[in-house]
Amino acid sequence: MNIMQSTAGNRARFMGGSWTLVALVSVPAVLAAYLTAAGLLRLLPADMWWQSLGVTDLTDPQQLLYRHAFLPRLAISLLAGAALGLTGTLLQQVLRNPLAEPTTIGTNAGATVALTIATLYAPWMLEQGREWVALAGGALSTLAVLALAQGRSFSPVAIIISGLVVSLTCSSASALLMAANREYSEELFIWQSGSLIQNGDAVVFGFAPWLVVAGIAAFLLLRPLRLLDLSDEGAASLGTKPVVTRLAGMTVAVALSSMVVAAVGVISFVALAAPTLVRLAGARTLRQRMIWAPLAGAALLWLTDRLVQVMPFASEIPAGVATAFLGAPLLFLLLPKLRTIPDRDGAILSSVRRRSGWVYLLPGLVAVALVLCAALVVGRGAAGWHVASAAEHAELLPLRAPRIVVALSAGMMLGVVGTLMQRMTGNPMAAPEVLGISGGASLGILLLFVATSDVNRPAMIAAGLVGALASLAMISQTGRRQALAHDRLLLSGVAVATMASAFSAVMLASGDPRLDTLIAWLSGSTYRATAADAIVAAVTATALLIIVPLTVRWLEILPLGEAASRGLGLGIDRVRIILVLVAVPTTIATLVIGPLSFVGLMAPHLARMLGFQRALPQLFASAMLGGMILVSADWAGRMLIFPWQIPAGLLAALIGGPYFMVLMWKRRR
């Protein structure tokens, strides 16, 4: 009796089996199994299941579907889910970062852009399968992220910020390529949204060995990986080389997640959610997490895929999109329980030069004026480059002015809002795009697209505002529990942004006739800017620039920390006022330039690196820089591939991203 108990105890310890863990895996698994059995019964009588697996009568359509569509789909959902669970666990351990997963560290975006380029320009590379192309892309982008974060000793925030910059750059590149090859992108739209539909068993048989090899490798690495919990010196003294361990762990994780991307596309959130859930359910040791996280991932993806199939929608909802919808709210619920890791370096991009800044604003103004003039006057026509005369301007101005004004105002607003947010939260990564405010606004606008067929500007503004305020409310809720903890803020922002992009992926894959408008908006095109848009944007930007100096005292105090702020008489309620001040301009900017411009993150950092340290000069400098970036991007977008046009938001991200990377690289020491 005693022996049996202790064996059971041992087994429980080996599996790490607490009841919560078992429930975490078995509840979704049982549900999924029920749905699977129900679906299967409609396809094939139960007595045929086993027989038909061994000897399939392919002339019977039902058996054909069972063997070459139903079973492969079931298998790939389990395999991909397990792979993502394992990937997330490995990455989080190796990088000591609770937020690490293939999306946040840039692997997915790299694999995606590589596959997009190959599909459009070198289809022959895909003849043997997508795996190697995806692997090359994923490995390159991950390397870039690590190189950028290296100077900050791979701290969580440094990795997430580099991952974000690299991902944004990569996804702007793929969006641009797809916009330029619209008719050829149908395939990419569908694939990008992570569809688990299978066309035979080849993918499953191709993918399974990778998972097995990666699993074995991961368990061989278990001991050295566990030692990473110690300090690097401690691990070294126990006879391991932390660098080698990290490299090996990363290699396994990146290879495995690239294989998932190659096999089924981007499936968001499972790699983040599975290890997080498992840890919250009580898996403490790495061994426990490495066993339970793949199980949880498999169960979650399986359930999601089954749920997607019983949903009453006309066209397919890809599982990769559905996981984002299910995962994001889950993450919000769990955020307060997540143990946060103190960040060792708050200021990621501190400046070396110190200037007061005011004097240097003058050349800035001159530069803005020059860019505006160039954008208004210089253009290309059928006969080549062309400087417009005054007479021609009568006709050209109505075409050019709204676009330029919209770009300028949106850039200024995003610059100011980004500065406000970074000052307010003391978080170098805070920006409307990153903390999910642009995401919230676009979610609102997208929902409006779904709800009505008659979409007009005032309705769009209202819907965007509701979305932006809702996500702000969620963020401040997160912040209230624990004085604006860095990674929680980021995590909630990432959750909203992921939901928004998942939603747009659904719309893109649905073949909605308004697709072109949607693509144009998502990529930050000013093409559809009207005079009314220009006026609304300009008025909001001006109002913001007038109001913002009034908040300067708060902004100088807030970065000192909450205690100091309270001591100096600044209640946290005032902060809420600033939050509202953030929502309105962000919504307007998102509406006219799309959710992905990146300017709100970039402009404040550029301003600070140029030496504008104090609040007010920094605000104005980043307004100017933001405006200038978008106006130049809009102009260049109209000129570069004339008569085709590159959306301003995309171009800003495409040029701004790498520039930002270079700055980070230079300052890594």
Partner: protein
């Protein structure tokens, strides 16, 4: 539509896309490219000073800036008022009036109807097997054309049966996993080019595709590109290519 009325357009959007996906009627060599169909370049349009701008309904473009440049003629298609073929006839006539080519428009309508009638007579000797018309964009999905598509109207006029009878969206097609093609049984499947080469390879490798009843029976035929959302010229082109398949 403009070309089929005997007028050479000065410029069109997405010249390369037209040549890949629409093919006929052929574009004149000196035709300017206006950039993407979603965002035709207004500044270039302004410079070219066209006499008339024609555009299709459903691209979500604001008309105002175009109207400032030249008179605008919008061609509504798939707006649900008429079946696509009938609407193509109506719009051809309207455009003919606008361009002062009423006679040419009437001739085009008659010519297309006659061509289809001719092909119907040609086909009447053959066995009437149901057929499905599909576009393949990736290796796991197909777009199947059904009720409400131009192709359906042409099939009806040819007295051919569409094997795909399930519901379609407002544009007359649905996007499905290829396993749904089991529903058409051993029907003939007409697959529209262009299929990207790597997709073709992966489709051929697919064990599900290879075992579909229609594929096993050797009933899949590929025909050159036809624009599924085109007008009368596309309808005639489709009928002709179908007869040859």
């Amino acid at each position: 539509m403009v070309i089929s009325l005997g007028i050479e357009p000065l410029a069109v959007a997405d010249v390369k896309g037209y040549r890949d996906w629409v093919v006929g009627p052929e574009l004149p060599a000196g035709c300017f490219d206006l950039g993407s169909r979603g965002e035709p370049n207004l500044e270039l349009l302004l410079e070219l000073k066209p006499d008339l701008i024609t555009g299709a309904y459903g691209f979500g473009l604001d008309e105002a800036p175009f109207k400032r440049i030249a008179p605008l003629h919008t061609v509504p298609f798939y707006d649900g008022t008429e079946a696509p073929y009938r609407q193509a006839e109506i719009e051809t006539l309207k455009l003919g009036l606008q361009l002062g080519r009423k006679a040419e428009a009437q001739r085009l309508i008659q010519k297309t109807a006659a061509a289809i009638a001719h092909i119907r007579a040609q086909l009447s000797g053959r066995a009437k097997q149901p057929l499905a018309v599909v576009s393949i964009f990736d290796d796991r999905h197909v777009r199947v054309y059904g009720e409400g598509s131009l192709f359906q109207d042409v099939l009806d006029r040819l007295r051919l049966t569409n094997a795909w009878t399930a519901a379609t969206d407002g544009w007359g097609f649905s996007v499905l996993g290829i396993e749904e093609l089991v529903a058409v049984g051993e029907a003939r499947v007409i697959s529209l080019d262009p299929i990207p080469p790597h997709v073709k390879i992966r489709v051929d490798q697919s064990s599900l595709w290879a075992n579909l009843p229609c594929v096993k029976a050797g009933n899949v035929r590929t025909i050159p590109p036809v624009w599924p959302f085109g007008g009368l010229a596309a309808a005639a082109r489709f009928a002709t290519l179908l007869a040859r398949a």
